[in-house]
């Protein structure tokens, strides 16, 4: 019941593109509206924060109408894709920048660990920087002095404490920075991806310290991470951001599941392959251009069929084959296929790929394709092009499915065929 932090309708608008005469025009227009006591005209516009979409307007809402409450002593995990608005939210919370509209009310001091080691000066020694960094984060000199030994001990950099920080390794800098921040005494601590740099021992230590802060000392922690397992272990509650809006707000484990389910929005009908689907540079003598799925009512006993448009960029006339891996919803590779080969003469050629007996259980899957030539047996296997997460498909529940009504995902991704016959001796 004890709410310590409350966000009410916070929105943040950013301008796209560069600052130039165009922005000056908008600024003058905005100023002219304010002078006449009217509302900012550009608050009416602004696109949804979708990183990969084409920009249609000059403004974008990095965050739009965010409402949430955090109770005292709670650890809240904030998750979302790159560019979903996580860091913007943290910036607003830590008062680095102000919201465009709405307000954040708090009953405690907020200290942020947006990037640790802020205010470290390379020429100063570790000890001097502890004071410097502590002061930047809002501690007084006496406060730091009383905790100095503890901080040095926690950082594990005692030997280097009187050496300038510019001689430190990056890991040591992070350790020292986190040590200072962890000994802050704010009521609310904002942490953003700090554990990524430290070694395993330090990460464990840091996570332990954060748990102590919340359970032992009743501090509230807001934690942003892409590491789902640390969100699950550390946090009680989770906030999933998507395109600048709250997608889900609830228990940490439910949030993580919700997030993982929704991150892979892979088309299921047709997909044009772009550089986003290639994980490494490919030679593209043969290139995968487009994939169509013909699997609308796919069941366990119907074949999976794709039509793939192959573009031939060279005069090579080797037999090519399509290979691929089927991946389940949690990102686990289930199985792979290696098709037989054909020779392509045309510059653009549609091919038809069929996987007859897949035995996949009902659920959602997607595919990674590649077009290749040669054989692994003779070690002349070449991959010309790849398309990761290229197309998805659903396997539906069979109407007549034997003894069960619905496949339980706990049984796995493959529904093996089995036959039972009487066996005469």
């Amino acid at each position: 019941m004890n709410v310590i932090l409350k966000a009410e309708n916070i929105s943040k608008q950013y301008r796209l593109g560069t600052v130039g005469t165009g922005t000056l025009k908008h600024d003058l227009n905005r100023w002219w509206h304010t002078v006449r006591g009217k509302e900012d005209p550009y608050l009416q516009v602004g696109g949804v924060n979708d990183r990969s979409a084409k920009a249609t307007e000059d403004y974008v809402w990095a965050l739009r109408d965010i409402n949430f409450e955090v109770k005292k002593g709670e650890v809240l995990g904030i998750i979302g894709k790159n560019g979903a608005g996580k860091s913007t939210l943290l910036k607003l919370l830590s008062r680095v920048t102000a919201p465009t509209s709405g307000s954040i009310k708090t009953k405690g001091r907020i200290a942020s660990l947006l990037e640790i080691g802020t205010g470290f000066h390379p020429e100063l020694t570790g000890r001097e920087n502890i004071f410097m960094n502590g002061a930047v984060l809002g501690m007084t000199r006496t406060e730091i002095k009383s905790k100095l030994d503890e901080i040095i001990d926690f950082s594990g950099c005692e030997m280097y404490i009187d050496t300038p920080v510019k001689r430190y390794s990056s890991g040591m800098t992070v350790r020292l920075g986190f040590a200072v921040a962890a000994h802050l005494e704010p009521e609310i601590l904002v942490v953003d991806e700090v554990l990524a740099v430290g070694d395993a021992e330090f990460q464990k230590k840091a996570i332990g310290k954060m748990q102590d802060l919340s359970t032992g000392e009743g501090r509230t922690v807001l934690f942003v991470s892409h590491n789902m397992s640390s969100i699950k272990t550390l946090c009680e509650r989770g906030l999933v951001l998507d395109n600048g809006a709250i997608d889900f707000f609830g228990g940490a484990i439910e949030s993580v599941d919700h997030y993982l389910l929704n991150t892979k929005a892979i088309p299921k009908k047709e997909n044009t392959i772009s550089e986003n689907h290639r994980r490494q540079k490919t030679s593209k003598e043969f290139q995968i251009v487009k994939i169509q799925s013909l699997n609308e009512n796919l069941q366990q006993d119907t074949p999976i069929i794709f039509h793939i448009l192959i573009k031939k960029n060279s005069s090579l006339s080797v037999p090519i084959s399509i290979t691929g891996t089927i991946v389940n919803q949690s990102g686990l590779d289930i199985g792979s296929f290696f098709s037989d080969s054909i020779i392509v003469y045309e510059e653009e050629q549609w091919v038809d790929l069929k996987i007859p007996n897949h035995n996949l259980s009902p659920g959602e899957y997607h595919l990674n394709f590649s077009v290749a030539a040669g054989s692994l047996k003779e070690s002349n296997f070449i991959i010309f092009d790849q398309a990761y997460e290229s197309i998805g498909f659903d396997v539906l529940q069979e109407k007549n499915s034997g003894i069960f009504i619905k496949w339980n995902k706990g049984w796995g991704d493959i529904h093996f065929n089995s036959k039972l016959r009487k066996y005469e001796v």
Partner: protein, 287 residues
């Protein structure tokens, strides 16, 4: 119930802003940070230089020598019974403090975007620390001035300060306020459009010439009376002339000029504070 709860909020982050939103309690809480920034400034400026703190002396000394050669030996600007070198050194010392406060304050936002973008503390700490650490440098340069003052005194020149010396702290304050005020205005205006950054460099060196640094005020009155107003209403010229008047007993001092300068300094400072305040909340989005 709801009302009671909302009374307990420690603070609220919102886009609304007051005209002057200075939280003195908060600045006081961060006093250790201010002190540390000042110390850091002084300690680290000349790290990894061979001459180290000697650079504090070299710049004003050489400037004074060149000024003496150009303005007094070549251009024959009279400095009364004051040795020209001392006359110039006094002007440069005062000018330097203002100049340093102005130029360093004017890039507060751009130079500190890194730290401002990550952590909150009262932004006004940064200009304040510039002015305070500049004071240290100013003190050192005053010492050099004193050394030459004594040197010329023993050489038999008739040098004596006058009772205006009591106003010395006020003069330092006025210099600081002017530098801060102008600097904060420029810093706020450069967060989005960088045009002014280009201007600051040459504008300050031009400003020096209409601030009576290498010549006494009386010279302008005499030689180009039509443009004398440019110098007369320039608060900096008033400060520099006044500074020389109090330590060398040379030049013109009027109480009206003094109060005029005081009012302009405070006015410019307040204006700077308002503009700085309007900018600090959102500058990180446009810097």
């Amino acid at each position: 119930m709801n009302n009671k709860e909302s009374d307990d909020w420690l603070y609220e982050i919102s886009p609304k802003r007051k005209l002057i939103d200075l939280n003195f309690k908060e600045i006081w809480q961060y006093r250790d940070l201010l002190i540390m920034f000042v110390k850091r400034d002084i300690v680290t400026v000349y790290k990894q230089t061979i001459l180290g703190p000697l650079w504090f002396f070299i710049q004003p000394l050489f400037t004074a020598i060149i000024f003496t050669l150009v303005f007094n030996n070549i251009a024959n600007i009279p400095t009364g019974n004051i040795p020209p070198f001392l006359f110039n050194l006094a002007g440069i010392t005062a000018w330097n403090y203002f100049n340093q406060s102005l130029t360093q304050t004017s890039n507060t936002f751009t130079a500190n975007a890194g730290i401002f973008g990550k952590v909150y503390f009262p932004r006004v700490i940064m200009p304040l620390k510039t002015v305070i650490s500049g004071l240290f440098k100013f003190g050192i340069q005053l010492l050099i001035l004193l050394v030459f003052y004594l040197y010329f005194l023993f050489q038999g020149f008739d040098l004596q300060p006058n009772s205006n010396l009591l106003l010395f702290p006020v003069y330092v304050l006025m210099m600081a306020l002017l530098g801060l005020g102008a600097g904060m205005i420029i810093s706020a205006l450069t967060t989005k459009y960088r045009d002014l950054t280009v201007m600051v460099g040459f504008a300050t060196s031009l400003l020096m010439y209409i601030s009576a640094v290498p010549y006494p005020f009386s010279e302008v009155n005499e030689k180009i009376p039509s443009l004398a107003w440019l110098v007369k209403y320039n608060p900096l010229a008033q400060i520099i002339e006044g500074f020389r008047y109090m330590i060398l007993d040379t030049g013109i001092f009027t109480w009206s000029g003094f109060f005029y300068t005081l009012v302009v300094s405070i006015g410019l400072f307040l204006l700077g504070l308002i503009i700085f305040n309007r900018t600090e909340k959102n500058f990180i989005d446009t810097v």
